[in-house]
Symmetry: C2
Subunit: 534 residues, 2 copies
């Protein structure tokens, strides 16, 4: 039931449903067919190869996104609506984040486990009492082969109800605490709102952490430790700036005590994205599932619990934030190919020498731990290859032509800003490593600048409505009353979806005495971010 509140979100991207994507699938499948490309003039690469995107990010964001995830070979649409194939180009990004996160939680003594995909309806009902609005999304298995099951069995939408009966069984004394488990798995939420690759799909991959502590203090500490890991995933790996904060009572995880979040923002749509959430569940679930223990004084006590998760949604946010009209733009830290080396032979040139130089370049980079590959295919022109690897978002391209070869150098071209750099072979590894670091930083800085320029501080309802219309991420003083948030939602309802609170940032600007709530006019208690959201 993690991130259950996101099920209420409304979506801008109305470009979904299998049928409307058929053209993209067809385009994506066209690779290998357009041999005419090799004869092309550089200037017209796009038209000739069919590699270019037909939509521009700023003109039609929804169609651009649908196109870039397919043509960039991240996603293939599947014949069941809302299900997507994660191709190796996407999966390697997931794997890179997983390697980081899994190692970090192991340092915290959190252990991996695996609980079943299936939940009996009896156990699921137990949760239903506490969290409404989830039942409509549950997929039910009712048959095996030709036989009806005696009782329908649910597929996990999240694993609280799957796990906590066993927490109750395993936890007896204070020495059994803390119990800190995590699992990497798939979950299913059979939603009928517009599916969007990565951002909203009926099946998705995630990790879900479930922990129990003897004291609230320990639980509180972990909530923030995990949130910091989520921040690092977004900012250090995906180069996407996020704001750490607390969800409002209305937006918090239902049944939990409080929810912390890393909130990202997509400037093109002016929408916030709940990036990942780390919940303190308090003792509500402990009460429901009777998770008790004998404390050090020999008294019966109840555990304090957390749950936390991040999903494949992270990849979608990264694409939305960094992608451009040429295609994907991958941060070096998560790119499975960081450097693509392309030979640029000419008729009268020493082709073998150039190819050998390319091979040596790849070898030297690989040996230094840089993920480099060469594209030696003989049925594509260098120009076609440039476009192809730009579309796939490889951070750095290295070209080796006759002149480079003669001068014992390579030409490096950055994907993020198209700048060109001649690098002597002798400095190759050092310079490339440095450039990759700078690309990673630049992507983050550029995204942060863009995000920051979308932040608008408002004090009044009029300012709020205007900023919302300008697709801003709005920072406003708020009275922190749930009824007022509901009222804001009601008053901003429309085609684009209602505004809601995103989070109250941990870093609070000064709130001078006498500051009033933008919406209610009552005394403000805190600064809170507001906006439309995925």
């Amino acid at each position: 039931m993690l991130t259950a509140c996101s099920s209420k979100a409304v979506y801008l991207l109305r470009c979904s449903a299998t049928q409307s994507f058929l053209k993209f699938i067809t385009m994506a499948a066209g690779k290998g067919g357009s041999s005419s490309a090799s004869k092309g003039k550089k200037k017209e690469v796009k038209k000739e190869t069919g590699l270019g995107l037909s939509y521009k990010k700023d003109d039609n964001f929804g169609e651009w996104y649908s196109e870039v995830v397919v043509n960039g070979e991240m996603i293939e649409y599947y014949d069941i609506s809302g299900c997507y194939i994660l191709r190796p180009w996407a999966m390697s990004i997931w794997d890179a984040m997983q390697a980081f996160f899994d190692a970090e939680i192991k340092k915290l003594k959190i252990k991996n486990c695996y609980f079943p995909l299936f939940v009996s309806s009896g156990v699921l009902q137990k949760e239903k009492d506490h969290i409404e609005g989830f039942a409509p999304e549950v997929a039910w298995v009712t048959k095996s082969g030709e036989s009806e099951l005696e009782m329908p069995i649910a597929i996990r939408p999240t694993s609280e109800t799957v796990m906590y009966p066993y927490f109750s069984k395993w936890i007896r004394g204070h020495r059994d605490l803390p119990l800190r488990l995590n699992q990497w798995c798939n979950v299913v939420r059979w939603e009928f709102s517009n599916p969007t690759p990565f951002i909203r799909s009926r099946e998705f991959l995630w990790q879900e952490g479930h922990t129990a502590f003897a004291t609230k203090e320990e639980a509180d500490t972990e909530v923030l430790e995990i949130l910091e890991l989520y921040r690092r995933i977004y900012e250090e790996f995906l180069a996407v700036p996020v704001i750490k904060g607390k969800k409002s009572e209305h937006e918090k995880f239902a049944g939990g005590l409080y929810t912390t979040t890393v909130e990202a923002f997509v400037p093109n749509t002016g929408r916030g994205v709940q990036g990942a959430t780390s919940h303190c569940l308090g003792q509500n679930f402990a009460k429901m599932f009777e998770i008790n223990f004998e404390n050090e004084k020999g008294e019966k006590a109840m555990v304090w619990q957390n749950s936390w998760a991040y999903t494949t949604r992270t990849i979608g946010v990264m694409i939305m934030v960094h992608g451009d009209d040429k295609g994907l733009v991958l941060p070096p830290k998560v790119a499975s190919v960081q450097v693509i080396v392309i030979p640029v032979p000419y008729k009268d040139a020493d082709t073998k020498g150039i190819f050998d130089a390319c091979e040596t370049t790849v070898k030297n980079l690989n040996e230094s731990g840089i993920r480099a590959e060469a594209d030696f295919r003989d049925n594509y022109s260098p120009g076609w290859k440039y476009s192809h690897w730009e579309l796939k978002g490889v951070p750095l391209r290295i070209e080796i032509g006759p002149k480079d070869y003669a001068n014992n150098q390579v030409r490096a071209v950055r994907r993020d800003n198209s700048t060109k750099h001649d690098i002597p072979m002798a400095d190759l590894v050092e310079r490339v490593r440095d450039m990759l670091d700078r690309i990673q930083e630049s992507l983050f800085e550029a995204a942060k600048q863009k995000r920051d320029s979308c932040i608008e501080v408002v004090h009044t309802w009029e300012e709020f409505v205007e900023a919302l219309g300008q697709k801003k991420m709005i920072l406003a003083p708020w009275c922190d009353e749930e009824e007022v948030e509901k009222d804001v939602k009601a008053r901003t309802k429309g085609d684009m979806g209602a505004a809601k609170s995103l989070c109250s940032p941990f870093e609070q600007p000064e709130l001078p005495e006498g500051t009033m709530c933008f919406a209610s006019g009552k005394p403000a208690k805190k600064w809170t971010y507001w906006g439309r959201s995925y």
Copy 2:
């Protein structure tokens, strides 16, 4: 549809079904409750702590297995029959194997991806024509929330039909080949035969590799490369000897061209276990799913395909082979705790000194990459802890008592053979590393000896029947005719299940001219292993 033939197997372990396991669950959950243990006399540890197993491996293998997987904290029984919780103690073994296998297949340029859990019934029907006997095991989703789905949707039992339509889309020219994909995921086979933890469950974890090549030669080569990795998982990691060989026509993967296997053997039950299989699918699926490409001559050609998988079954085989009457016995290479350090304080001794020595020991081992932990719990006696960690199968126990502390040494006790070794602190890391290596080797050697002693070479039907009654793994000359294998099955049908061919080993003993088939009396073509099987 990998390992589809295993669905026909019959099981010895008749100890399944949730109800009969409740007592084990109760026992397992008893940890932390028996504080009387700390006052116990060493000799009677078992009775007092309730840690001992109530069944002996040689007396009642089925009950012993059910007990050891639960009490050893590998498995928790779940409230849906045939589904099991993989606890961290089991999951860490899976993770260790995955780290190895995933790195190895990446060296072979095989890439990870993720295809959906769901298959539309239309696509699944396509496979049904080719592989019968699988349909009864498919779980169907027919509802989401309160709504009936328009069409029932199947949960993948394997992903051939999920993936190959997209292979057809992605593969156009010879340059798109080879296409080599792998995914780590869960699959569901709703079987009604007796479920057994790890060995047979309705949901299990596996990797499934699916590859396509331009030529049969390349496919053949990969089949054996992967099989060698499976051998290494069993022999190098799990210390379980396996026999590499080819499945008979009757036992091969239906729809495939040929199946290779690593076959393990469980001496206690006298049953073979199909450890993992690497299939050459030939061109049958390519034909069915129209996976064609333009070859180098510009002609239309069909790909050659393989699929291969290993599952969490590996862990069950390891437990069955190495476990003993004290509990699990984990090979050091896959044990998440390789060394458990236990302080043995006495009333008049320098307890702090002993505890510090334990901490230093753990620290020194950890810094050398050895996975060591100390058990400092103050509510359990050293004797209880010995039994506990023996039950959990930790390869090496280090005890530090007053005498050890005074002599600046530790006492190391091997789990596999109970031998005790005094190690000077100065030699700690080197000696422990060496002992762990030797434990790994010894486990394999002991298992191999035991397995080898179960192999019986027979030449006649009478010898065959006698050996089968003695739970042997039978090596017999065979005419290699499918009708004869069917006949052997029919003639050996009984309570224990019929005998079948396990594999024809790649290492063939000499077959003198004029050798006759043990079953048909016709001229023998090869040596083949036979026996009952899981």
